[in-house]
């Protein structure tokens, strides 16, 4: 064992039915260290953290705290042992004061001693330089301060290991700075911090070490100076940077009409979800992609195009004509379709039948007073169930009882039925089986060959390279590059994603 290790995890395994979520993963956290835990979706980061905090029980391996083997059975257990967690979403009560949020649920005795609580809280806030008053209502603080109060609560319960699970995703630059200075001061006090984030720059700003996971396995532990960004990205994505063969598909891109008027063109499109204004255009028959790590703003961009969130400004042209797209219906009427990232929350209407889910978009476009006849709807549903080979007992089955891949196909069918000129697919291949993934990619290419424009987003670079002829690269809410032709290879993409010195 290492001398100053506060936490050691050795050979951790965790299995879910049919999935090996973690296999033989080691992780070491040393005293006074900020340790980044990196990996793309499904790499096993959150599973590892949940094992550590007692949400999941491990199927194998040991955990030692300061050299002593421990069994962590519940989140309460973890807290008592000095492992505190601050989650991405703030898990405090906005209606209570800052001081109360720091102490509620932890005090003994039936009475609340406000005076003592407030002075204690004020001391702690001061020692951590958190710009909040103990008696202030939490809801009146900025998100960053709320996040810091959560950290203060965690730190106060005598914690040795602090887990920060994507705490920065909703903070702006200033707020991140404040958070970092807090992290650094905790580090000086000897707290070991596990930092989970998708922002590369932040990792290089505050972290000492990086552990990379991929597909539930440990890729390696690195000292930050030894691992340049590009290397990190390639480790996360699982492609060796130098000897990576170019696998650009030989798909003929002749059907793209670059000379004509773009099917869709946006200028200084501004959303309200924290992305910088961006320009974008797409031509007939083109497949393009937005890439970047999770949280880089790629989904927010396409949501802005579709009008899914409030649009703050910018001009939009469809087929050269200026149009206003403020809400989804506007976009749909202009021939834009959008398959959302979060299938469960934004895509399916769970209790409704497969048939109703398929015809929903076209039906809404057709109008409230002109419903499809039952036989017409039946015909549409049957056509697309057959076309996309959706596995369902009947078109009457509620969509929620289908498998993830088939649900996704139903949503795809919905938008194909709407017969768009421009189709946006945000992570259509997430969480579905390999076979369906390939089917969906083939379908995208087929649609493009038929003259439709498609935006395709995926966390898997392979898929993007295979299907897209142009990539918009994003980092931290900004468009940082556009790649096409021979630039469309893993090396260049990763270098652009990583940015900075490459």
């Amino acid at each position: 064992m290492e001398n100053n290790a506060v936490l050691e995890m050795r050979g951790i395994c965790k299995y879910f039915p049919g999935v090996r979520a973690l296999e033989n993963v080691d992780f070491t956290l040393r005293e006074g260290e900020i340790h980044a835990l990196m990996g793309e979706n499904g790499a096993g980061k959150s599973t590892l953290i949940k094992v550590l905090t007692g949400v999941y029980s491990k199927d194998g391996g040991d955990i030692r705290l300061a050299g002593v083997p421990v069994h962590i059975r519940s989140p309460q257990d973890a807290q008592n042992m000095g492992i505190s967690t601050v989650y991405q979403e703030i898990t405090l009560c906005p209606n209570l004061t800052v001081a109360e949020n720091m102490y509620i649920g932890r005090t003994k005795g039936p009475l609340t001693n406000w005076k003592k609580m407030n002075t204690d809280a004020a001391k702690l806030l001061d020692s951590l330089s958190i710009p909040a008053k103990a008696t202030q209502q939490l809801g009146s603080c900025s998100i960053a301060v709320q996040q810091m109060v959560a950290i203060a609560r965690a730190v106060d319960s005598d914690c040795k290991v602090l887990i920060l699970d994507e705490p920065t995703s909703s903070l702006d630059e200033q707020e991140v700075k404040k958070l970092f200075s807090l992290m650094l001061s905790l580090k000086e006090k000897g707290v070991g911090i596990i930092f989970v984030t998708h922002f590369l720059e932040q990792v290089y700003e505050v972290c000492d070490r990086i552990t990379v996971l991929r597909d539930g396995k440990l890729v390696g532990e690195y000292i930050i100076e030894d691992l340049p960004r590009v290397q990190l990205v390639s480790k996360m994505l699982g492609k060796e940077f130098d000897d990576m063969a170019e696998i650009k598909s030989e798909e003929d891109a002749a059907h793209i009409e670059y000379d004509g008027i773009p099917v869709y063109e946006a200028e200084k499109l501004t959303g309200t979800t924290g992305i910088a204004p961006f320009d974008f255009e797409i031509h007939k028959g083109e497949v393009n992609g937005f890439t970047g790590l999770l949280g880089s703003g790629r989904s927010e961009c396409v949501r802005a195009i579709f009008g899914a969130d409030r649009v703050a400004g910018g001009t939009v042209k469809v087929n050269g004509k200026k149009v206003k797209i403020n809400k989804p219906l506007d976009a749909m009427k202009n021939g834009i379709s959008y398959l959302p990232e979060d299938r469960k929350r934004d895509g399916i209407v769970g209790d409704l039948s497969v048939r109703d889910n398929i015809i929903l978009a076209l039906q809404v476009m057709k109008g409230f007073f002109r419903p499809f006849s039952r036989s017409q709807a039946e015909a549409f549903a049957d056509e697309y169930i057959k076309l996309l080979s959706i596995k369902t007992a009947s078109s009457d089955t509620p969509i929620k009882s289908l498998s993830g891949g088939n649900q996704q196909k139903v949503i795809l069918a919905r938008w194909l039925l709407a017969n768009p000129v421009y189709l946006i697919l945000d992570e259509p291949t997430r969480g579905i089986d390999i076979g369906t993934k390939v089917e969906i990619q083939k379908l995208v290419l087929k649609l493009a060959a038929e003259g439709k424009s498609v935006t395709f987003i995926s966390s898997e670079l392979d898929e993007m390279i295979r299907t897209c002829s142009r990539l918009v690269v994003m980092r931290d809410g900004k468009v940082v590059g556009e790649l096409k032709g021979s630039d469309l290879n893993q090396n260049t993409i990763m270098a652009t994603i990583a940015g900075g010195e490459s």
């Binding site: 009560c93 005795g109 609340t112 330089s129 809801g139």
Partner: protein
């Protein structure tokens, strides 16, 4: 701290952010509004509607008339702070009145046993409703709506008509008045008349005091706020959400029992139509008193002033010559509507600020 400059900038920032944002909790802000509304209303009444309102006894009569409502509203506020609602309290009050009346008069019961009976009925409603809401996760509205109708039905099953209680022990208790020194007035004949309150008012004030303290200084009380503020957060903060919700409904039921008996002492009779609509008055008082329907915000002191505001406006409407019953109802509804919208706007503005 490694960087002294950064520390400085933090301090600056803190000073700035504190200055721009008044450090006032929602609870206190709404409480402030309520007290202000009440005072303004009362002063206006005194100034424009004459001396009737200036007499201390007029104010004390408001308390006498509304002692039961104050108690019911306290219970309602507790439940509303945890994010629930209880609309059975009015009919439980009627049931308590009827049960006690029948017990005292037709079974020759003892007043103290009647009190226990009243508490028992309230507790039973609180227990069942609390269990259904907290442990079976059924919407509180549906549960207590059923509770309301059950109480209503039971009242008529026990006795379908109104009758006055003639039990001597009870009559003595009912007639007991507590004089308030120094607030008496001289009547037209020149005699000095003591100002008084009924026993119910003492009970009501005690309830207000106790639950004000409970909410302010006990762990259970603070848990109410946490659960109402954010269910899931409260859970991760180590609070037993179900038990907290259950406790709130239990206490509300118990207070309905207490309020029922106080109402009974005030009217001295049993009738199926007693306290009809009291639940709506209690909800309205709580809302006017600054309790948010969404939970997590509220104050018993506010509720107390909410009841006073509500009854003052009723008195004003009456003394304006609009003494038909509908006017008071319409004013209550209008006031409720205004305060509801106020809360909704307050909430919306806050959410906007955040994003």
């Amino acid at each position: 701290m490694s960087n002294p400059f950064e520390k400085n900038s933090n301090k600056e920032l803190s000073a700035k952010s504190l200055k721009s944002r008044v450090s006032l909790t929602d609870t206190n802000l709404l409480l402030f509004i309520t007290i202000a509304v009440f005072l303004i209303m009362y002063v206006c009444a005194v100034v424009f509607l004459g001396k009737g309102f200036a007499k201390p006894q007029t104010f004390l009569n408001i308390l006498n008339e509304n002692a039961a409502l104050i108690i019911l509203s306290c219970g309602m506020s507790l439940v509303m702070i945890t994010g629930g609602i209880d609309i059975s309290v009015g009919q439980v009050t009627a049931l308590v009145c009827m049960s006690c009346a029948v017990f005292l008069d037709k079974h020759g019961g003892n007043v103290y046993v009647a009190m226990i009976l009243a508490l028992g009925i309230g507790l039973a409603f609180g227990l069942v409703q609390g269990y259904l809401v907290a442990y079976l996760n059924i919407q509180p509205f549906i549960v207590t709506l059923a509770g309301m109708f059950f109480a209503k039905g039971m009242t008529t099953i026990i006795n379908a008509t109104q009758f006055n209680v003639e039990n001597a022990q009870f009559k003595a208790l009912k007639a007991t008045r507590v004089t308030v020194p120094g607030l008496g007035s001289v009547n037209k004949l020149g005699n000095y008349i003591d100002a008084y309150v009924e026993i119910g008012v003492i009970v009501a004030l005690l309830v207000v005091l106790i639950f004000f303290c409970v909410l302010r200084w006990t762990r259970t009380g603070r848990n109410f706020y946490a659960v109402g503020g954010n269910n899931q957060s409260a859970n991760t903060l180590g609070i037993n959400v179900r038990r907290t919700k259950f406790t709130a409904h239990l206490l509300c039921g118990l207070l309905a029992g207490v309020g029922g008996f106080v109402y009974f002492m005030h009217v001295g009779s049993g009738s199926p139509s007693h306290a009809s609509g009291a639940e709506m008055n209690a909800i309205a008082s709580s809302i006017i008193g600054g309790t948010m329907l969404t939970g997590g915000v509220g104050n018993i002191a506010g509720t107390f002033f909410g009841v006073l505001s509500l009854s003052t406006i009723k008195n004003i409407v009456t003394s304006l010559g609009l003494d038909e019953a509908w006017w008071t109802n319409i004013t209550v509804a209008a006031m409720l509507c205004i305060f509801l919208l106020l809360q909704s706007i307050l909430l919306a503005r806050k959410n906007k600020q955040k994003s």
